[in-house]
Assembly symmetry: C2
Homo-oligomer: 194 residues x 2
DNA sequence: ACCTGAACACCGTTCAAGT
DNA sequence: ACCTGAACACCGTTCAAGT
């Protein structure tokens, strides 16, 4: 029954990723199943194990791509030179992304490796890029503190924003709650951290 | 084969909760299975469905209890009167709890209801109590801002702390990284938010 | 070499049948 | 009334067998 190779391995890998992301976008991480992905791309389950080691491997790649998408989206808010508004816009853009990509964003936290299993470095790098994004703007606006202090402030601000987004997305998301979260984010970007 | 009722329904419910929490503590949320719980308490799977509607229901109750435990632990840091150190201690206690109860704390975010499914109110209340904990200390230390502003600052601070803990727990937790997270938390509690 | 699909072990959930 | 445990539908993963 084996079909002829209509797609290269690289193409199949791409198809799997996109089909999987569509499922997560529409129905959330809990709806992501091998058989569903296989059916969506017109292959059988075995084929998915040709391009990914297992579901965990696929999940980690999806999550790495979500961090990339988030990074790219936040980057569009960068200005030259940076102003205080730049920081606020990046922070608010994070919230926008999490609300607009609820399924994929929530999966960053819903899917986790087993307790004690080390997170691969190539994955950590993708997430850390997002948390480093505030460094340059803050550095430009502040000439009195050391690079270490700027680094610390940048990390605190991004993680604060993520914490605010988290608590919003894990509850109900009425317009009223989204507005409150926006206020909270504005507060955190206006805060004098260092 | 039905055994005589050695335990009341209420007792079984308690046994299920404690056995489940032991599993999550030791091996993480991904190791939590009905059959394992049943075996641990000496009953069969069907019995668990006598006291909980399904696994989702059990999971939500475990999470609610974790918020309660967290609340009680943070509460021990409250002082009369509150000082700036009180706020720092509460925030650092949050980090301690998340590191010491990694399995249960991570489950708060790893387990989520399906996309669009409403979170029950009785559960939200338990989590919101934790986020309200900073209100009283900040109110005591600040007499110039309105209650609404204090409320906002309290929420931002707790969510920031949670965001910092989150990013620590989702990566590797070497002593070095824990130290950095502590620094970040101290920064966030020292920040002038409003 | 690529791909299938049956087989396996395991999962949450149900419910007729026992005591 | 309480509890069992077999049965069901579904899941991730493997791999001998096809082309």
């Amino acid at each position: 029954m084996a079909r002829r190779s209509e797609h290269s391995q690289a193409e199949i890998k791409q198809m799997v990723l996109e089909a999987a992301e569509d499922i997560v976008r529409e129905n959330g991480y809990s709806a992501l199943k091998v058989r569903k992905i296989a059916a969506d791309i017109g292959y059988t389950v075995g084929s998915i194990y040709m391009v990914f080691a297992n579901m965990n491997d696929l999940n980690m790649h999806i999550k790495a791509r979500t961090w990339q998408k988030l990074y790219q989206y936040l980057q569009t808010q960068l200005t030259q030179p940076a102003t205080p508004a730049t920081m606020k816009n990046i922070a608010l853009a994070y919230l926008d992304f999490s609300v607009d990509n609820e399924g994929l964003w929530r999966m960053l936290f819903e899917h986790q490796l087993a307790l004690g299993e080390p997170v691969p470095d190539w994955y950590l790098q993708e997430s850390q890029r997002v948390f480093g994004l505030m460094h340059a703007p803050i550095r430009q606006l502040d000439h009195t503190h050391s690079d270490n202090e700027i680094q610390l402030a940048a990390q605190v601000l991004m993680k604060s924003v993520q914490g605010i987004a988290m608590q919003l997305l894990m509850q109900k998301q009425s317009l009223e709650y989204i507005k409150m979260a926006k206020s909270e984010i504005v507060v955190s970007t206006h805060a004098k951290l260092i």
